[in-house]
């Protein structure tokens, strides 16, 4: 289903922001993750939740993965791993 990885990621961002009482910046592909309103711990939680939701953690599969800077980079890593 196209777009399902993206929508799962977006809803995790929203949920974690809510749980951690953080104000989420408007989500767009060029949003720098560290400026999204979430901190490192929030991203760690998002990655753990996505592993449960999608059934994989792309960061543990690929050895020399680039750390994502923008939301677009982040989504692409997941979409590539889902292929």
């Amino acid at each position: 289903m196209p777009g399902s990885v993206r929508s799962t990621i977006v809803s995790q961002f929203e949920q974690v922001a809510r749980e951690q009482n953080r104000k989420l910046a408007p989500l767009s592909d060029d949003l720098v993750l560290m400026e999204s309103g979430l901190d490192s711990l929030c991203f760690a939680i998002v990655v753990a939740r996505l592993e449960d939701a999608l059934g994989f953690d792309p960061f543990s599969v690929v050895e020399d993965i680039q750390f994502p800077v923008t939301l677009g980079d982040f989504i692409k890593i997941y979409e590539d791993a889902a292929k």
Binding site: Q20, V32, M34, S40, D52, S60, E63, F67, V69
Partner: protein, 468 residues
């Protein structure tokens, strides 16, 4: 008791403090060492603090930094409180460390616990004037260990043990500017503070409220040459998109396991830099540094007395013996810090693969979330308070952002009227997470909870924990 052959911090710095470029930067201030050495940040009240056990309870890292420089050699003891010390524990600290004076930029916190005459307010303005330092002796430095539950654990060091791993580098034409993501009131950060000072360099202090990208830009603008942090700090720096704002010649990782992924990423960003990962703990001191760009420790490091440190592995965990080891714990109930043979058990478990030793975790399953330690038992205790929970197991899951993260598995009590639906499970999980969030700091709250039908139990009746 107060004997050693190391000059006080002040005496060690006196010779080079006059260099006008030497300074300490904070987010909004620049302190020239030259000015400090021609005055005092303590209004010159050194005589009143002589031979006393001085609590350094500070809001700003700068207050701690300047007080340490001025009071080492004067005070009997300096008790360096970490930024996250629970105010509830202040009376315990005062009692255990026999505190009879305090230097603070937040006096209100100490009011009531110490007589007002013993509290010395600090301001970031340096008062000029000649201050006679008089006779100096070895001061005991008290640091707090990380990752304990309940009352803090304090260990005793000397300037000699703290600086044992610091070798003065050969002359460098370029000024040295150190910086660290760490807070200097913790062992890892304190090492960087002392390195910056003893190497004749300057220091850029981090600020708790400052976003990573702003801190990197600030450090870059001061020409940082040496930078240190945990692997999680570095991952955050890379993800901020601003890692390229600094161009260090030396990059140091410590406090967590440095995996090959983060070492390789840093190599790409800083192709010219020496990239080293180091092992240190408040109790064991600095153990070793690995500079070949690979994760793990070469087996040769375990040969006798490499670089003045003896290391061995016993029962799977790393043991270290050296002159950098802490002198002991404060308070009798904490027992002995070193074994009879002089080794400190670090509790870090190692595994040999292809000629190198790799860290596999902590004994007892302590989870390291971005440098902060979590005891599974304290999280389980909160989860188990929920009326529907039969038992729980909290464990570590590998995470690309914080190294590890807390997850939980729970077994529910059988209830005849429960329909075990997905909706009910989701509601339960969110209730339990809510309990955890109210009772625990965010990094201890499980990122995910899984309901399982059973958990393995050991013959002694305890939940079986995955080893390390």
């Amino acid at each position: 008791m107060l004997q050693n052959d190391v000059a006080s911090l002040w005496e060690s710095l006196k010779g080079t403090a006059s260099r006008p470029e030497r300074c300490i930067w904070t987010i909004d201030q620049r302190i020239n060492l030259q000015d400090l050495f021609a005055g005092s940040s303590l209004s010159g009240r050194l005589e009143q603090l002589r031979d006393r056990s001085v609590l350094l309870l500070t809001k700003s890292q700068l207050c701690a930094a300047l007080s340490l420089i001025e009071l080492d050699g004067i005070a009997r003891r300096l008790i360096l409180c970490p930024p996250d010390l629970d105010p509830e524990h202040i009376p315990f600290v005062i009692d255990t460390a026999a505190v009879n004076a305090a230097v603070s930029d937040q006096e209100a916190q100490i009011c009531g616990a110490l007589h007002a005459d013993c509290v010395f307010p600090w301001s970031s303005t340096i008062k000029r004037g000649e201050h006679v330092r008089g006779k100096q002796h070895a001061t005991e430095w008290i640091l707090f260990t990380s990752g304990t539950t309940g009352p803090p654990k304090m260990v005793s060091h000397s300037l000699a043990s703290l600086t044992g791993a610091i070798k003065t580098p050969s002359f460098s034409a370029q000024p040295i500017v150190w910086s660290t993501f760490y807070d200097i009131r913790r062992y890892g950060g304190l090492q960087i503070f002392l390195r910056a000072l003893l190497w004749g360099g300057s220091l850029v202090l981090s600020d708790a409220g400052e976003p990573a990208k702003d801190f990197l830009a600030r450090a870059g603008s001061h020409g940082v040459t040496h930078m240190s942090g945990t692997p999680s700090h570095w991952r955050r720096a890379i993800m901020s998109g601003a890692a390229g704002r600094i161009a260090p010649v030396y990059v140091r990782l410590s406090g967590e396991i440095a995996d090959q992924g983060i070492l390789d990423s840093l190599r790409v960003i800083y192709p010219q830099a020496k990239i080293a990962h180091a092992f240190a703990s408040t109790e064991a001191g600095v153990g070793f540094e690995v500079e070949d760009g690979l994760a793990g420790i070469p087996a040769s490091y375990f040969s006798p007395s490499a670089a003045g440190v003896d290391m061995k592995i016993e029962d799977g965990s790393l043991r270290i013996r050296s002159g950098r080891t802490a002198l002991g714990y404060l308070g009798r109930e904490n027992g002995s810090l070193v074994a009879e043979d002089g080794y400190v058990d670090t509790g870090d478990m190692l595994e040999l693969r292809d000629g190198r030793y790799y860290f596999v975790g902590r004994r007892g399953g302590v989870i390291n979330v971005g440098g902060l330690k979590v005891h599974p038992e304290e999280v389980e205790a909160v989860i188990n308070r929920h009326p529907r929970v039969q038992m729980s197991l909290v464990k570590s899951r590998k995470n690309p952002v914080t190294g590890a993260i807390v997850v939980a598995e729970i077994v529910l009590k059988l209830e005849p009227d429960s329909n075990n639906s997905t909706t009910e499970a989701a509601a339960l999980k969110s209730e339990i997470l809510g309990d955890c969030r109210r009772a625990l700091p965010a990094y201890k709250v499980p990122a995910a909870i899984r309901i399982v039908s059973s958990l393995a139990v050991t013959p002694s009746g305890k939940v079986a924990r995955p080893d390390a």
